[in-house]
Point group: C2
Chain length 209, copies 2
Amino acid sequence: MTESLILHEDPRSGNCYKIRLTAALLGLPLETLQYDIMKGETRTPEFLANINRNGRIPVLQIGEGPNARFLPESNAACWYLASGSALIPEDRFAQADMLRWMFFEQYNHEPNVATLRFWLHFVGEANLSIQQSGQIMAKRVAGCEALRLMDEHLSRGDWMAGNSVTLADIALFAYTHVAEEGGFGLDDYPSLCRWLERVQALPGFVPMD
Amino acid sequence: MTESLILHEDPRSGNCYKIRLTAALLGLPLETLQYDIMKGETRTPEFLANINRNGRIPVLQIGEGPNARFLPESNAACWYLASGSALIPEDRFAQADMLRWMFFEQYNHEPNVATLRFWLHFVGEANLSIQQSGQIMAKRVAGCEALRLMDEHLSRGDWMAGNSVTLADIALFAYTHVAEEGGFGLDDYPSLCRWLERVQALPGFVPMD
């Protein structure tokens, strides 16, 4: 990779951490530029015009100056970094199965496990809107169901897809390992807990903070 | 592709349609097995044990008998079918950018545009729970924002990623072209409307119904 890699991030975000962890496991140098999402720093006119019209981080910037390219969506940025590496299986089914768990992460896991962490740990329950408070129970149930499904899957193999660590593990590790900050107890998911330790033992692993 | 391909689907689901459209554009034979999600047919013990523990369709089944493999998540199934075809760009950035829009589809578009269609067109507003009714306005705003972002992006190019049709177009077409069933007007999005016509004009295109 000859072009510079810059991650536009908020370090408290698990979605940003996925990209840092992918780069670390691959030994890729990655600069970071930090924004405070609580202060709306990703919704400024400059950010919307130059970095991401969707007003969200993470964004992976590839190259600098007029030829810089910008890649939003955490799992797409991980894919870019890991392209051609062992973190993406070559086998056709295993590759699609890895993506299956990455889409599961964004659809079934993140909107529940990560959102409750954001609401309860960073925003604070007292500051939630009535609409948000009304969704806590549904998100709790759906988040537990996502964790249960992962635990059941991990009772039959060491990794989420294929026979070794892939981007599916990185994507799901990010918010699972801090799920307790969203009020999710992990004691009921023993296979999942052993998998968390497997990820943390990977050569090159970096913690979230 | 020598193994048989069987799609477990509900034909009213845009997520299922994505897979049928991908197969049609590629000229791949695809059998279908139909379930009625309104009757809970994807939550039976048999379905959970044999097809998808997550209790959802679509599921792409590859092969039959004891060696059959099952792939949930619509966008992952499309990836499997299109692997090695022109529907997935080879260029590293374009490929990641395609996945970027597919993750956007599952995170920003589907939970708003598709969910309102399901609630208002199939379940019926009078049958929604108080929790669901309370989310309509937020989903309306977020769905319009997703459509606006697509329209703005399509004002600068014919396709969502790269220079030709890719899986990103198929994934986003599925629920966008029936967004009016969820109460979304498309007249405000002229570039998006022209793109809908471009997709419908593709050789091999099949309609949803």
